[in-house]
Amino acid sequence: MGGTAIVAFNADMGRFNPLVNTDQNTNEVIYYMLFTPLVQYDESFAARPYLAESWDLEPGGVTFRLNRDVRWHDGVPVTAHDVAFTFRRAKDPQTASVLSSAYLELVESAEVIDSFTIRFSFARPHARPLDGFWWAPVPKHLLEDTPPAEMARTPFNRQPVGSGPFRFVEWEAGESLTLDRVADFPESLGGPPFLDRVIFRFVGEPATLLSEALTGRVDVNGSLFPHQAEQVERTPGVSLLSYPFREYYYIGWNVRRPVLQDPRVRRALTMALDREQLIDVLMYGYGRPAAGTIAPWHPMFTPIEPLAFDLAAAGDSLAAAGWIDRDGDGVREDEGGTPLRFTLMTNHENPVRVDIAQVAQARLASIGVDVDVRTLEWQTLLARHRGREFDAVVQSWVLDNFRVDPAALFHSSQADRPGSYNRSGLKDPEVDRLIETATGTTDPEAAKRLWTEFSLALQQAQPFTFLMWLDELASVSDRLRGVEMDARGTLVTIADWWIPPERR
């Protein structure tokens, strides 16, 4: 009789299938409630045993021994055959599985040794090989008849049979999702959760959701915005949680554009922006300045000196690159008379991004850079950005796992591929070399040093102006205890949440 907790988010869930889900909140439900990943992360972001109770790591591969007590919620045991089946489906291009590109690039093949032992071979060595195994198997006996191309649409994704501490009960699309505790969940994986039931509610309008949370009608508001934080702090019976998260804001520069091709120009643009002020004013202090793609809480992170806010130095750097106001109109020109002028795009649905663009416009005007701000509809912005039809863009990325692999964003091999993510078009041999050597280094300390060098090289190249790492915010009702959140997510400790008997 542990009671019911109500958690609210601002959007509905995706697919409850680790192979084909791409939605962030759904991922948390998959990883921490419905399914059992091979490994789980601890507070210091090191892999710890979960479905795999132990492993032998060698340079060429890894052998996992699975926990024998874990069962699918229909009673069938979870075995190495399920893991191998999931791996093969993920590797099949027809499945279009996100696991293959997010985790399994380095993993070549899987071999079932016995029902509870499985060996994976690596394609090449890696500093943190276990990062490639933070994914959960799906039940082979329920999905083996689904053709790979149908995996994204199979009814299973809406009525999943999982293996985790909570079982699926009901999902009313756009409204609510109900999960119940699994009473016989093995002690070796943390045992059954305290709560009897967790109900997720989906409320799209932030102000409405805030009202629900402040009046105690939902226990956790997992989609809280910085401007709402103060109201949560002022309200009795509700408390505010804020913690460093995986999302960063950046301004992406298109280095193919003649005005932006010189790294000195891009560094000057960065130096002209006061990032501390952006965080204080626009994010109400809930964030920290960013200097690269590796998150400040990540084991591979080393702090580097950021390019400091310095308008005079920014102006000097532009002058050194040949951009001088030659005709006295307030805008710098190069020798040929081309003005230093470009368009900064963002989407109008996100007021913070629009504000960032306008602050940048004002700051850059003061050093003789003429910025035209254009706000577009979200999908239009995505299409323009993806098609490289932009000069500069205010955007953000959310890291979806704990691997460090900036190749997709900054390696020159991705600069000209249609649809790829090196949209800035950066081609920097030093950045390429450091990405290649760092991902292939098996000694963590050596890898960490290489990542520091990478961050410094990236800072010199400055394809992005890294603005800030956002803090994630949540409001939690006082009746709910044991709620802790960190960069692993909102739901990371949900199996340990509890409600005092008198408030159930």
Binding site: T4, I6, D12, R15, T22, P93, Q94, T95, A96, S97, V98, S100, S101, A102, A149, E150, A152, R153, P155, N157, R158, E172, A173, G174, E175, S176, I199, R201, F202, V203, G204, E205, A207, T208, L209, S211, E212, L214, T215, R217, W378, Q379, T380, L382, A383, R384, R386, W397, V398, D400, N401, R403, D405, A408, L409, R417, P418, G419, S420, Y421
Partner: protein, 335 residues
């Protein structure tokens, strides 16, 4: 009459098909891609291309159109690209919710609008009339989503902290029912649902009610100046009977046509109100589908909206004939 209705419905078929074709073309012309929401540095371009192929989105536009039209004409709405289930089941879930919300609003619009209109006409130029006119204009100028947010702020949030405020008037800010809905008695379910309906139906309907009141007032004023009303008064009938029995029926005539005008407006207003109140109806379905470029769902929801509008207009025309015996529709071989 039957022949008229049948002819109108047949005429509606090319109209609806035309709307759908136009929407299809506009959607395809707009930048965007249903798979764009999956773009992420850890989702490789190959995986995205394969996703597009799995959904048939890599085909040329005309091929997609013909394929869509074929399945549509055979009664199959297809599968939602974002929700990954048959759109027919999404519609079956959502349509009743929207009808409940707009139906309640419609009742509210006409009950309040007609009532206020009559009072204003009877007490023309009184202080009450002026106050109501001012109030009506004030409310009429409010966008429904803003009004919705204000209602939530006051009647869900602010009153929550007032001890003496009755619980029955503390309204839930969102959703269609409470989380313990399944456990309630049938009376409990009814009141719970009603409680959730109050704020969204007011947000959706109140500005239309204000405009109905304006129409009703002027229509009533016109009628009570007529000779037959003077005759009724001269016969010594009580004022109440004169107004409610003799004047009301004729004054209602122009109001009935408003029904046809307001129904489509209710459905479009429902889009924003449903988003604000997290009401799981058609409006939210179309809003989400457009943002995510879920083409088949946009097509299906557009179809439902188009059909609702056609039917609403037809109902208005038929009602017009019912209340006004002078109006006869051609067809049926009576001329």
């Amino acid at each position: 009459m039957t022949a008229y209705i049948v002819r109108r419905l047949l005429q509606a078929i090319p109209l609806v098909l035309g709307i759908l074709t136009l929407v299809f073309i506009i959607l395809q012309a707009a930048p965007g891609d249903p798979m764009a929401i999956y773009m992420h540095p850890s989702v490789s371009p190959e995986v995205l291309d394969q996703m597009r192929e799995n959904y048939g989105l890599d085909q040329p536009v005309h091929v997609q159109y013909v394929r869509w039209l074929k399945s549509f004409l055979s009664g199959d709405f297809g599968v939602s690209v974002t929700q990954n289930r048959p759109i027919a089941s999404i519609l079956a879930e959502r349509i009743p919710n929207t009808l409940l919300l707009s139906g309640t609003s419609l009742l509210l619009i006409f009950a309040i609008g007609i009532g206020l209109g009559i009072i204003q006409a009877v007490r023309q130029h009184s202080g009450l009339d002026h106050a109501l006119t001012l109030g009506a204009l004030f409310i009429y100028s409010m966008p429904s989503f803003w009004l919705g947010l204000m209602l939530i702020l006051i009647f869900a949030y602010k009153v929550h902290w007032i001890d003496w405020w009755p619980d029955a008037l503390k309204f839930p800010p969102s959703g269609m029912d409470s989380v313990d809905y399944e456990m309630l008695s049938s009376w409990g379910r009814f009141t719970d649902r009603l409680h959730h309906l109050v704020l969204p139906s007011i947000a959706l309907g109140v500005s239309s009610a204000a405009s109905v009141a304006r129409y009703m007032r002027s229509s009533m004023l016109e009628v009570i100046r007529q000779d037959y009303i003077r005759t009724a008064r001269a016969k010594g009938l009580p004022e109440r009977t004169v107004i409610l029995k003799h004047a009301l029926k004729n004054a209602l005539l122009p109001i009935i046509t408003l029904l046809g005008l307001y129904l489509p407006f209710l459905f479009s207003g429902a889009v924003l109100v449903e988003v604000v109140f997290a009401w799981p109806g058609m409006g939210r379905a179309i809003f989400d589908a457009i943002n995510q470029r879920d083409y088949p769902t946009v097509m299906a929801t557009t179809f439902v909206f188009a059909v609702m509008v056609v039917i609403a207009n037809l109902i208005a025309d038929i009602l017009y004939a019912v209340v006004d015996p002078r109006i006869r529709y051609a067809g049926g071989g009576r001329e």
